[in-house]
Each structure stands twice: as C-alpha cells, then as structure tokens.
Amino acid sequence: MNHRRPIKSGHPRPPVSRRGALRTVLATAGTLALAGCDRLSRNEGFVDVLKSAQHLSHSAHGVVAGRRAMAQEFAQADVAAHFRGNGTLVPADADYQALMRGGFKDWKLEIGGLVEKPLAFSLAELRAMPSRTQITRHDCVEGWSAIGKWKGVPLAHVLEQAKPLANAKYVVFRCADSMDGPTLDGRDSRYYESVDLDDAYHVQTVLAYELNDQPLPVANGAPLRVRIERQLGYKHAKYLMQIELVESFAAIRDGNGGYWEDNGYEWYAGI
C-alpha cells in the first residue's frame, strides 16, 4: 500500500521512516560503491579486464572502418592559426640540443630491427623522397582538436626501401625526448610509440617534416614526427630518431608498446 504521510507541522516524525531508511541505504551504498570503484582501479587484474575493451574496439573498428579507410581531410581555410604543442615542447636531452643547434644537419633517421637492409636517412634525403601533403585534424586524448597541414614522406615508402622481414609485425618509433628528465636513476624514459602494419602502411601515415608550409617547429616535433591519422595524438611520436621493426614489443621497456602505454594508457588509441 502506498501510505503517504500528510504533512502537518508539529507531528513527530516516526523514528525510522521507510523513506529515511531508503535515503541512508542509498547514501551508504553510494559511498561504498565509490570506494569500491577506487579499490578496483588499483586492482591490476580488474584493470586488465577493463583495458581488454580496447581489443574489442580495435576489432570492431577494423570491421566498420577497414584497414584502408581514410581520415577526413580538410580545406586550407580550416587550418588553425596556431597548432598547439603538447607533451615535450623542447627536449632537454644534450644530444638533441646539439642536433637542434646544428639545424638538424647532423640528424639521421635510422631504420632497423627486422629488416633486410638497415638504413639511415638525413633530413635532406627524406625531403628528396616522394611526399604527401594532408590537412588533418589532430585529436588529443585530453579531448581537444587542432587542424594542421602536414607534409612528409609516406612511411610505406621508407619501409619498402628497408624491406621488412616476414616476421615483422609492429613498427616502433624511438624518440629523442626523455619524459622523466634526461636522467632518472639512469632509467631510459625517452618517448617511444608503436603501431601495427595496417597503420604503418596506411596512405596517410607520413613522416612529417613540415607543418603549415614551414619546417616542423621544435614544439611540434622537429625535425620529424609521424602522423597516425586514425589514432589519438599520443601515437604521433615527435622528435623521431629511430624506426625499428619488431615481432613483439613485449621486451621493450615495460612491454606495453609506448611511453604512455607504459603509464596506463591503451595501446590502441583509435577511440
């Protein structure tokens, strides 16, 4: 039965009303649930279950937006006046600083790992290769977006020259910038990232040396950064030094395939 108490001032409240009890139960349940969520967030096994959703997303995305599906490209008028830099803005590492002072004349991109022909290219050599220019939207994992015009050499072109071996499954990008300070107990904290071969050979995956018709600024990854247009910004490694083909990234650093991945983020950043 639905017994609503008539509201009359001066009437003593029943000691425990159902509604009062309900409110207490709900408040307690809420507090416990929140504490529970925080405890679960510290439970590695549970977090692994949550993180497993990325595999479902990755597979489902592959079905609806196939391997070759193209990221949207924009018009010149859409280009942002200022393209925000994020993460490292000027690498503090001495070796990078020296390269920067020399205008990156002594910089070389090395391609190695599971390839028939390990190679190294200077910036001038990369600039002489076939190029692709694209105006795309950069989506940061934080939530913001910026549209920029990128020019660079397709990664596929560089890989074809190095001839990856049949067992190569991932492309690892190794960068110049130490994320946790240049030396932290001697531990290597240089930025790195990795993608699978679908993304590596994608038409819009370029090694960019120009942003908005200018040489790539230091804040955006000079002299060279990779564009992985169908994934979030942290996959687009800046300050590239080496490209390494591997069968598995389990043995690299903490084994999650990237600096941010080792710090808890998903390897698949298509969402």
Partner: protein, 278 residues
C-alpha cells in the same frame, strides 16, 4: 477517479524480467559512464563548437583564477563567470585540508583521484556494455510489443496531456486501473530518452573516435564537427542526468518501496483510489 474503488490493493505484474534486468544493467552503466566521463572531461575542462578547439574562447570552461587567498574555482559560460569554488574548479579531495585544482570534484568522478587513463578504461569498457544492453532493449521493445503496448501513448492519452501535466505538478499519482499503465508524460519522457538522448550520447561519443570518423570521412560534420560532438555528448549526458533526477524524484514520491520492488520482482501493488495520495 469516479469509478468504484477496488476494496483491496491489487498486485499486478508490471515489469517483465528482460526489462528489469536491462534496467539495472543500465543503472550500473549510466552511473559509471557519467562519473568516469567527468574524469575524462577533467583532463581538458572546456567545450567548444565546431571541428576544432578555439582554446581562447570555449563556450564553457571550468577553471580557477587567482584570488586574494589563493586560487578560486570558477565556471565560465558564454562569457559570464560564476563562482563555483569548493565544487567546480577547486575542491577538497577526501579529508585533505588544502583544495585541489580540478574541474569536477573527487566525489563525482571515477576514479576519485584525477586519472585520465583510468577514467577512459572504465568509460570505454562500460560503453560497450551500455551499447549492447541498449541494442538488446530496443530490439526487445520492438519485438515483444513493449514499445507498442507500454511506451507509445494512445491518442486519447495524448489528448489528455494537460490533465497529466496538472496531476504531476500537484504530485497526484494515478490509482486503480490508471496506475497499471505508464502515464502520458512518463511515456513521452521514456521515448525522448530511449530514442533521443541515448542514441545522441552514443553517436556523439562515437564521433570522437578518430578511427570511426574514418568510416565515412566527413560524417562527423553532421554533428557540427568533432568538438561540437564532444559538446553534444556532454549536453546529452546532462539531459540524461536530469531525467534520472526527475525519475528518482517521481519514484520517491509515488511509493518508493512499491516502485523499487516492482523493478526487482516485477510485482506492483496498484494503489487503491482510497489512498490519501489520490
């Protein structure tokens, strides 16, 4: 009601098992999605319209400004600034004595500490469960007759919408036979949520995925661009929160135990018209 009132309360099987199960899955999903969504929002607590972010001119931003006694939380909406210190922009985490600069407070986010990556893990896992549950519900509603029988109001009910609005404003609840059916405002609220807000929150969420944007390059412009999609995702979630608050309020004032029990066991005790609330 001018009919002869039933003499004894009548037990009535109101909610079938699939609806009950999917309802509670939805409760868990929506709660976690809302709170983990606020964690994600906190990583860049500003919203924009259009394709990209105009960093200096968000339409809404939750931030902090320097005050005489340190930073103070503020919320800026369309150029107007509101003091929201203690809740939005700056708030205490747990028993801390000093405030932390964060958009939404710790008690509103999952996890409680600021962590974009952990917020994303919760959000993107439960998003799958939420979408699958939602698809199952819509299919069930269509094929079981739930939509036609329970959710769609009749013409007669629509014609009497004015009376239903009046009843709601006076906190009067239907009794007897009328209490066996959803009332017309309830019908309309559920329809707006099921076929409006929920699809919008999902589509706007999907529009933020760079890979899914590549399904048909440019489709995100239908929502006004990716940053508009982020805004719409937030607004739709706000709409869902408002719906839940009204929904909970209505449950509380219309015989909370009876309502909650009926969503657990399925059985609802039809209030007789002798009831004082009639």
């Amino acid at each position: 009601m001018h009919k002869t009132p039933p003499t004894s309360p009548q037990r009535f099987y109101r909610h079938r098992l699939p609806v009950r199960v999917m309802h509670w899955i939805n409760v868990v999903c929506l709660t976690i999605l809302l709170m983990s969504g606020l964690s994600i929002f906190n990583a860049h607590p500003a919203l924009y319209w259009g394709q990209q972010s105009t960093f200096d001119t968000p339409w809404i931003a939750i931030t902090a400004v320097d005050g005489p006694k340190g930073a103070v939380g503020v919320t800026r909406i369309a150029g107007h600034q509101f003091a929201t210190d203690g809740v939005l922009g700056s708030s205490r985490v747990g028993d801390a004595t000093t405030p932390t600069l964060r958009a939404f407070p710790s008690w509103a986010t999952i996890p409680g500490r600021q962590s974009l990556s952990m917020g994303r893990h919760w959000h993107l896992f439960f998003a799958w469960l939420f979408v699958l549950n939602g698809i199952a519900y819509v299919l069930y509603a269509l094929f079981s007759g739930h939509l036609r029988r329970d959710l769609l109001p009749t013409r007669e009910e629509l014609r009497r919408i004015g009376r239903s609005i009046r009843d709601h404003l006076l906190f009067r609840h239907p009794t007897g036979e009328a209490a066996k059916r959803y009332n017309v405002l309830q019908n309309l609220a559920y329809l707006v949520v099921v076929f409006g807000l929920l699809p919008l929150v999902v589509v706007a969420g999907i529009a933020m995925s760079p890979r899914l944007d590549a399904v048909f390059p440019g489709w995100v412009e239908l929502l006004g661009g990716r940053q508009s999609a982020r805004t719409l995702h937030f607004l739709a979630a706000t709409g869902l929160l408002l719906f839940v608050l009204v929904h909970l309020f209505e449950v509380l004032i219309s015989g909370a135990w009876n309502q909650i029990r009926s969503m657990i066991t399925g059985y609802y005790t039809v209030p007789s018209s002798k009831d004082p609330s009639a």
